[in-house]
């Protein structure tokens, strides 16, 4: 344990402020869910927590996809005043667990048999060494294609089986004056497309080698160049007003027929459902086309911090609420993702979610389940940042694919 953590823990225990809060049966949590649907889903959990006798104290910090919340957490921890729980994304939890700041959940996992209820691929994000430190609430899938059915039918386009077909379909649409892809210039949106291309064209083993292991031969090889070439094609199929476009606005474009397709995670589904559209009838949902199907996951998990003894009861109650199958079902039906638990039945979920369930089972069996790079579940933040920079730069400039690959390799090496 580093000196830093020792100091902060000593400070946390020495000051009674936290204890006063706990004595009233409160659980305080930091998260970045601030939209109405996200908050609605969270309420499912907090209401359930209330039935256990604990009140939820909300420390929401929105913005920058959770970066503001992360900053708030770090400063709280530096001050020796951690929250009871925190919504953890990517490697954040792993790092804190390694520093010894998070409580081990092994007891709860053993007592409730949760190990069998989660997919093996997400273990690196909820377990550090021998200790479980987080409970996952949901699983998002990053690489969906949301398409306007009317447009597809009009131009006789079927669900593409690989990226070449997808690009061909896009070109056909462009010839007919239809915007093929609704995108934005935000780096993360472009990276989502890029990493989908990379995995779909080359399989999850290559993805692991290039993006997780950061192997230099993989990063500088022809597969990378081909991926950038394909991204360049996508760039040609995007309309001119794509700057600063909010992803939800892009979804709106597909919903209203101004664009044909959007490549976005399953949080976009809510946009279509809110407009009263039905999957398979008004809009289509299918994963980005791959020769061997893969599943790119993104999870939200809650970890609990080491504080004083009075906090433990509330924290345990919260974790049990999070992992409760009924809570997971209700939460995810509102949020648009699927439960992190693989043993929750699919009834009641819409068709897109059902497909997600099926694809996930298949991927678990085939071992083709991988974490999404854009949301921080593949490369660590300092490297993911490099991907994001280079891909974003490539998209908005006329950089050549070779230059992009060189910049990528240089950037990754610089950050090692």
């Amino acid at each position: 344990m580093s000196t830093f953590t020792k100091v902060l823990m000593a400070t946390a225990i020495a000051f009674p402020m936290a204890q006063i809060a706990q004595a009233e049966g409160k659980v305080e949590g930091i998260h970045h869910w601030v939209s109405e649907s996200e908050v609605g889903a969270l309420k499912v959990l907090t209401d359930s927590l209330a039935t256990k006798g604990f009140i939820w104290e909300d420390s929401a910090v929105g913005g920058l996809s959770g970066a503001n919340a992360t900053q708030a957490l770090r400063t709280r921890l530096a001050a020796g005043n951690p929250p009871d729980t925190m919504q953890l994304l990517g490697y954040e939890g792993v790092e804190w667990a390694n520093e010894g700041a998070l409580r081990s959940l092994n007891d709860l996992y053993a007592k409730n048999g949760w190990e069998a209820a989660i997919a093996p691929a997400i273990q690196p994000f909820v377990k550090a060494g021998d200790d479980y430190f987080a409970a996952p609430i949901n699983m998002h899938r990053q690489n969906w294609v949301w398409a306007n059915k009317a447009i597809f039918d009009k131009y006789g386009i079927a669900e593409p089986k690989n990226w070449d077909e997808m690009i061909a379909a896009g070109k056909k649409l462009k010839e007919n004056g239809v915007t093929a892809f609704a995108l934005s210039d935000e780096n993360w949106q472009i990276l989502e497309v890029f990493e989908a291309i990379l995995t779909d064209q080359n399989g999850t083993d290559f993805y692991k080698k290039a993006v997780i292991d950061l192997d230099e031969t993989a990063l500088s090889g022809p597969e990378m160049i081909k991926a950038f070439d394909t991204l360049r094609e996508v760039r040609g199929l995007v309309d001119d007003g794509f700057t600063g476009r909010d992803w939800a606005v892009a979804s709106g474009m597909v919903a209203s027929g101004q664009a044909a397709m959007q490549i976005m995670g399953d949080w976009a589904k809510g946009e279509f459902l809110a407009k009263g559209m039905k999957p398979g009838v008004d809009f289509l949902c299918f994963p980005t086309p791959a020769a061997t199907p893969n599943y790119k996951f993104v999870i939200d998990a809650f970890g609990v911090f080491k504080k004083d003894d009075a906090a433990v009861a509330g924290q345990d109650a919260w974790i049990e609420t999070v992992m409760d199958p009924e809570s997971q079902k209700k939460f995810n039906m509102i949020k648009g993702s699927i439960p992190a638990r693989i043993d929750v039945p699919v009834d009641g979920f819409d068709d897109c979610a059902k497909r997600s369930f099926a694809d996930r089972d298949a991927a678990v069996n085939a071992g083709t389940m991988v974490g999404g790079l854009t949301e921080g579940f593949a490369a660590k933040p300092q490297f993911a940042g490099v991907f994001s920079d280079v891909v974003g730069q490539f998209f908005v400039s006329d950089m050549s694919s070779q230059d992009a690959v060189t910049a990528l390799v240089d950037g990754i090496n610089n950050a090692r």
Binding site: V7, L8, T11, F15, M17, E28, I30, H31, W33, V34, S35, E36, S37, E38, V39, L42, K43, T46, W56, E57, D58, S59, A60, V61, G62, G63, L64, S65, N68, Q71, A72, R74, T75, R76, A78, A79, G80, N81, P83, D246, W247, A248, V249, G252, W267, G270, E271, A274
Partner: protein, 292 residues
């Protein structure tokens, strides 16, 4: 002769036209964003999504305003901006009073009770103005933790006071330097002590610069986001953090009208201060802050 007079008058008229024209054009440039914000906040959401941001609302509605104030959801708490607005007030008022007060007495000491090295001290204080605040978040958090003030409004007041001292000292010192030393020396000969001189001579004369200092500090502290998000938690966050949560909604339809109404509500105190006290601001600057 007559033609000279006429052409002189015409060039004067053209001159006035030029002056007024430029001022009005500039005024339009400065008012445009405010116009956009007000107009958007009075529209219904459907109207915004149907049209552009700049046109007049077809049907004026104050729904967005009442929502922003009382019912908008910030995290799971759906009480609008009101509680956070109050937090900001509780935080700003003590911070402004403390930092201005300390600045005043510092300025007084540095000009009327100079000692060896007082200029060095002033220089060192002043350098603090230029510190990029992101760099001090983590060490300051550690200090606040050790003091037991983390996550609370008093902690935030302390932080703003510490970083406000540099500026307020600058304002007061530059102002007091224009007050003749003879005044204070005469008072000393009469037997007045350190504090007596401060309260009976310096402060009353310092009214303009007190206003400048308070206005400046009020604006900086009220509008601060970085310290607010880092050093407070849950119920004690200021209004800027709450505003950020409202505006940064990423799911679903962005409620632009509520966003704009919320931004305006958060901006009203500082706007009022500038509009009402703006003339005192200029007067205070005239009275001495400007002299280098």
């Amino acid at each position: 002769m007559a033609t000279d007079l006429r052409s002189a008058r015409r060039s004067q008229q053209l001159g006035r036209l030029f002056i007024y024209g430029s001022l009005v054009a500039l005024a339009a440039f400065y008012l445009m964003p405010l116009w956009v914000m007000i107009v958007t906040s009075l529209k219904s959401l459907d109207e915004i999504y149907a049209g552009s941001f700049i046109g007049l609302p077809k049907a004026v509605t104050f729904e967005a305003w009442s929502k922003a104030w009382g019912t908008a959801c910030i995290g799971t708490k759906c009480a609008g901006l009101k509680p956070y607005f109050i937090n900001s007030l509780l935080m700003v008022i003590p911070a402004v009073i403390l930092s201005s007060g300390i600045g005043a007495i510092n300025g007084y000491v540095l000009t009327k009770w100079r000692f060896k090295g007082s200029n060095v001290v002033f220089g060192m204080l002043l350098f603090g103005c230029f510190l990029p605040f992101q760099a001090v978040l983590l060490p300051m958090a550690q200090v606040l933790g050790k003091l037991g003030l983390s996550g609370s409004i008093p902690g935030l007041v302390l932080v703003h006071t510490v970083y406000g001292i540099a500026f307020t000292t600058l304002f007061f010192r530059n102002y007091f330097i224009t007050i003749p030393d003879e005044l204070t020396k005469a008072a000393q000969i009469d037997g007045a002590g350190f504090f007596r001189i401060f309260f009976s001579i310096m402060l009353p004369a310092a009214l303009p610069i007190i206003v400048v200092s308070c206005i400046w500090q009020f604006t900086q502290i009220w509008n601060d986001f970085l310290f607010g998000v880092s050093f407070t938690a849950g119920d004690s966050t200021p209004v800027t953090v709450a505003l950020n949560n409202i505006v940064n909604v990423t799911m679903g339809r962005k409620q632009y009208n509520v966003d704009m109404a919320a931004a305006m509500i958060a901006a009203i105190p500082t706007l009022v201060v500038y509009v009402v006290a703006g003339r005192y601001f200029v007067r205070g600057l005239t009275a001495g802050a400007v002299k280098g």
